[in-house]
Amino acid sequence: MPVFDLATTTLRELNQSLHGLDKSGANEQFEVTNPRGAHAVAVGIDAPVDVTINGSVGYYCAGMNETANITVNGNAGPGVAENMMSGKVVIKGDASQYAGATAHGGLLVIEGNASSRCGISMKGIDIVVKGNIGHMSAFMAQSGNLVVLGDAGDALGDSLYEARLFVRGTVKSLGADCIKKEMRPEHIDILTKLLADAGISDVKPEEFTRYGSARELYNFNIDNADAY
């Protein structure tokens, strides 16, 4: 298995090596050591390879990932897995702001806590956070699922579109146009699958509350002006 030691190898060499790989599913494995908070580690990969990063990373780790499985054995800085298209990213520690921002697909698992604006403008990604999430999470979230085993901060789901939010703990406050919704059987099915995909077996889907858009702000109405 190729090992990239970022104490002696440049970030450019690492990312260049991870680009243009065989897309047919070779399942190659790579290891990155000594990331020491480097930014843009393992970004723009478009092949189904496994990348294991031993240590904490800075901004935008796994940005725009397509099909790769990336595991960070540490914490992640802002914007982890931003604009991910597909694949799976697992953060064993905590994640900073904007985790999974604008991402279109794939699965992001954060085993610790996620900071503010988790899932901001998400466009289809599934995010599972085992701990808590910070304020303004799922702001303008368009589609996909955000699953939180812990608590959510202020203004959850502000100006939400069609994304589904599932929170097991408390929600400090809901943002504009975000409301509690009925948990129907199809939502139980979605949660069951997501929890299994995230490797979580000790939590039941029925313990979660679903939140979504009231769709009151979808078309401008002057009488809603105080909501903005």
Binding site: Y59, E82, F220, I222
Partner: protein
């Protein structure tokens, strides 16, 4: 015999003029602010307030029909492995598919390619029409990230990070439900028919320090091949340009308040941001102060209409200009041949700006399948190419008259201003004097 006292002529208020009163009545009736497309319509100091001095005893000109005057420009020489080479210093500004029809985007690509220049995507992603017909395509990276994906990022020729635009510095985009067709909705991953409000700032970075890291990520994803542009509205040009350089831009696009938008609030368009003329010199000074003039290229946009405007922007220090509204006019926007249809919408050719409503008689700012058939992308592309070539010839004509063998050799010393405001903004002398207002202790 009755006596009638003389009466004064009815006089309308300059403050409460006809337009203002109509807007008050409209607001009272509807309860919503006015939304429209295009840029600022108010009169502001502009390139028309500048004149070239030409050659005489102290300068000698180049022969207009014999001696070469180069127009090529290279964008992205600072860091990118693959800078963009353009034949002319006039690019096509970012305009979205969604706000514009597919045939209109195709026409822009065709015209720009014939003329040897670039076109630019907009909010909503990259369409096959424009990628397929644009030899050089700049891919905008916007706060909404609608349609943003790494495949399109990698097949773009440059990346333009949009921080702001001249029509609405500090404001986000807006695409109202009428224009959200199935295709537009799919590209943006949103339900059909809803009002799409694009964010005013990026979701995953805040400030120039973060932007520097974001640019590093984009360069790593694209293997440092693509030039990175940063587009800013005409807000605080000296500091905005300095910070864009610090963040790592290869190219800076500076858009003054006359720059157009697909749709935003009238109050925003007319009351936020600075005129294009006022933005250029502070921007150039920032580049010069940092030793980056001509190393980081500056593209100026907002109200560029003809070759004289191009030449004046270059003389003030820009490397290239960008056109949006003028390009739309060239492909048929506001054409008087649709006057009856404009009248039916309560407007007239030349004034139509309700681009957000999706009922454009010219078929350009619409997603209506029947209306967009009015745009023949091949013929419209040819018109755009013709127009770009005329502008280039005009700029060359002026440059030769000033004795320059490249349009980039034009300089502020070739200019004077017709009024004090323009002289102060452009940093050139008032005509007939050596006075540059705002300099030398005045």
């Amino acid at each position: 015999m009755s006596h009638k006292n003389p009466v004064t002529t009815p006089r309308k208020s300059a403050t409460f003029d006809d337009y203002t009163m109509s807007e008050i009545r409209r607001a009272a009736a509807t309860g919503i602010y006015d939304i429209r497309g295009s840029g600022a319509k108010r009169k502001v100091p502009h390139f028309d307030d500048l004149l070239f001095l030409g050659a005489s005893m102290s300068r000698y000109p180049l022969e207009g029909y014999r001696e070469k005057c180069e127009t090529a420009v290279t964008l992205g020489t600072r860091f990118a492995k693959k800078p963009i080479e353009l034949k002319i210093p006039i690019t096509i500004a970012g305009m979205s598919f969604g706000s514009l029809s597919g045939p209109a985007k195709e026409a822009l690509g065709r015209g720009a390619t014939i003329a040897g220049t670039s076109t630019t995507t907009g909010d909503g992603g990259m369409t096959e029409e424009e990628r397929g017909h644009s030899e050089t395509l700049v891919y905008q990276y916007l706060p909404s990230r609608y349609g943003m994906n790494p495949r399109d990022l990698k097949r773009a020729d440059a990346i333009e990070i949009v921080v702001g635009q001249g029509a609405k510095p500090g404001g986000g985009g807006m695409l109202l439900g009428q224009k959200i067709s199935d295709r537009v909705a799919h590209m943006r991953n949103l339900p059909k028919g809803i009002d799409q409000r694009s964010a005013c700032r990026h979701p995953d970075w805040t400030g120039p320090d973060d932007l520097e890291i974001k640019i590093q990520e984009l360069r790593e994803i694209t293997d440092w091949e693509k030039p990175i542009f940063i587009k800013v509205g005409g807000a605080r040009p000296y500091y905005d340009v300095a910070l864009a350089v610090k963040a790592g831009a290869d190219v800076i696009v500076l858009d003054g308040m006359q720059g157009g938008t697909a749709a935003t609030q009238e109050v925003f368009i007319e009351h936020v941001g600075q005129p294009t003329l006022a933005c250029i010199r502070p921007a150039v000074k920032a580049l010069q102060d940092m030793g980056m003039h001509r190393k980081v290229q500056l593209i100026v946009s907002g109200g560029i209409r003809n070759g004289a405007d191009v030449a004046k922007a270059l003389a003030l220090g820009a490397d290239a200009v960008s056109i949006g509204t003028a390009a739309l006019v060239a492909i048929g926007d506001n054409d008087p041949k649709w006057e009856e249809d404009y009248n039916a919408l309560g407007t007239t050719a030349g004034a139509y700006d309700d681009w957000h409503e999706g009922r454009d008689p010219a078929g350009i700012t619409t997603q209506d399948a029947d209306l967009m058939k009015r745009v023949d992308p091949i013929a419209a592309g040819r018109r755009l190419a013709n127009y770009l070539k005329v502008m280039t010839l005009e700029a060359q004509t002026i440059a030769r008259a000033c004795g320059k063998n490249h349009v980039h050799n034009l300089e502020p010393e070739d200019l004077c201003a017709l009024n004090i405001e323009a002289a102060a903004m452009a940093g050139v002398p008032l005509a007939g004097t050596s006075w540059v207002p705002g300099q030398g202790g005045f």
